[in-house]
Amino acid sequence: MSSAPESVASYCEAIRRGDRRSIARTITLLESTRPDQAALGQAILDALVADTGGAIRVGITGPPGVGKSTFIEALGLHVLAQGHRVAVLAVDPSSPVSGGSILGDKTRMERLAQDERAFIRPSPSSGSLGGVAQRTREAMLVCEAAGFDVVLVETVGVGQGEIDVVDHADTIVLALMPGSGDSIQALKAGVMEIPDVIVVNKCDHPLADTMVREVRAVLALGPDRSWRVPVVKTEATRGEGITMLRETIDEHRALIEKEGTLSERRARNLRAEVLGIAAWRLRRDLEERAQADPEWQGLLDSVVRRETDPASAARKLLERMEDG
């Protein structure tokens, strides 16, 4: 633990061996809000980065209650049966009031959690210095270095924050269920370009075919691309449609590999990540200074007193920041 002098090299060696304890500890370090621990995590990640990038990365998102965990378990068991090793990284919401969280993923993925070739790590959405999207990606890299060749990233919801979490995936799966009309609204409202595959789970529901038709109708309005977003029906508790889903994910990956969009996509994500981390740090610095600097506080107060408008106050803050 914190007192034991564990070196970066010994961590790396253990992770490459697939040692669960070391993988788990390293993810904790990367999630830490303590700069010294986060720095150790970064050093380990830095040493491992050459061993990463080898996995099939699938991001899964969708509103709560559509059965994501159930079908991630079914998908995970399916790829294990094909001889892969699978890591599942799940983000569960932290309470904005208490800061605490209830993480129940292994309850929902009981069979997958028992398999030696699987690693499941739920993480609370709050905490860490770099934001949830960054550390999920870092955890994914640790899993890749440990030899997991399929990584499934799960997040709840379809908002921008959730999209950021799965954005590093090669294939993004949006899970819906019959009768959830609001998710169709979300599709229309602009997240339509995000998913590569849409799953309609719980397809034994009487409204399943209506749902599939509606989704297809919305998709038909979208831009013409070389990949037409397929709609796959699953009934995850029985394992129905999972083979089909797996084949669809493979097809998507084969296409983006052939077209060169996989490397393009990963390059774009890496560039965006650097800017994202930098932006996150700048924001943190800004907030810290706003807390500490009386001159800045005066400026903020003047906005509250309606003596300055927010936009010009922000401009003044930035000018002072440049002046040092």
Binding site: M1, R21, A24, S98, G100, I120
Partner: protein, 183 residues
């Protein structure tokens, strides 16, 4: 029975006892309670100094389906600011140990109502040691006869909470147990 169950499972799929829990309930009741607030401040201080919130895995081991207590504890501790992992029902000690290690929790809370504690809890402690998780603390809550307390403590249990323990008090003790383990 096994064959009949297997035949039925093929048609109906296996029943899974989902542990559903809600957050916020406990906080709503205790809002403004000085003891509750002081524990919350302690949890915040822990999160500041350790770089993350105290993380606890609550488990049910063996043939013990009484999960109400586990749910209450999960909700209450989350409302106090803990990150709480909830294990599935009917877990065996080896699986619970592995889950604790993968999730890198500080402490496992065993909820026991079916008198399996003298066998299952020592097995859990052994499994933790065998899998490299000996730094993880173990606490037990539920129906444990006081005459078994000494036995459990000898077998690596850090704290035991009997019926009627107030949650703020229990969570404060859990924090102390975690701190003591880290030294």
């Amino acid at each position: 029975v096994g064959e009949i169950s297997a035949a039925l499972e093929e048609v109906f799929t296996r029943y899974r006892a989902d542990v559903r829990s809600v957050s916020g309930v406990y906080r709503a009741v205790y809002e403004g309670d000085p003891e509750f607030d002081s524990v919350r401040r302690e949890v915040e201080a822990f999160a500041q100094s350790e770089g993350r919130r105290p993380r606890m895995l609550v488990v049910k081991l063996g043939q013990d389906g009484h999960d109400r207590g586990m749910k209450v504890i999960a909700t209450a501790f989350a409302d106090l600011g803990f990150d709480v992992d909830v294990g599935p029902l009917f877990q065996v000690p080896a699986e619970a140990a592995r889950q604790a290690i993968e999730n890198d929790v500080h402490v496992i809370g065993v909820s026991s109502q079916a008198a399996g504690h003298k066998v299952l809890v020592p097995q859990l402690v052994e499994e933790l040691a065998a899998q490299g998780g000996s730094s993880i603390a173990v606490v037990v809550g539920g129906i444990v006869p006081p005459k078994d307390y000494a036995f459990l403590r000898e077998h690596g249990v850090d704290a035991i909470f009997g019926p009627g323990t107030a949650v703020p008090q229990a969570s404060r003790e859990v924090l102390q147990v975690i701190r003591a383990r880290r030294r």
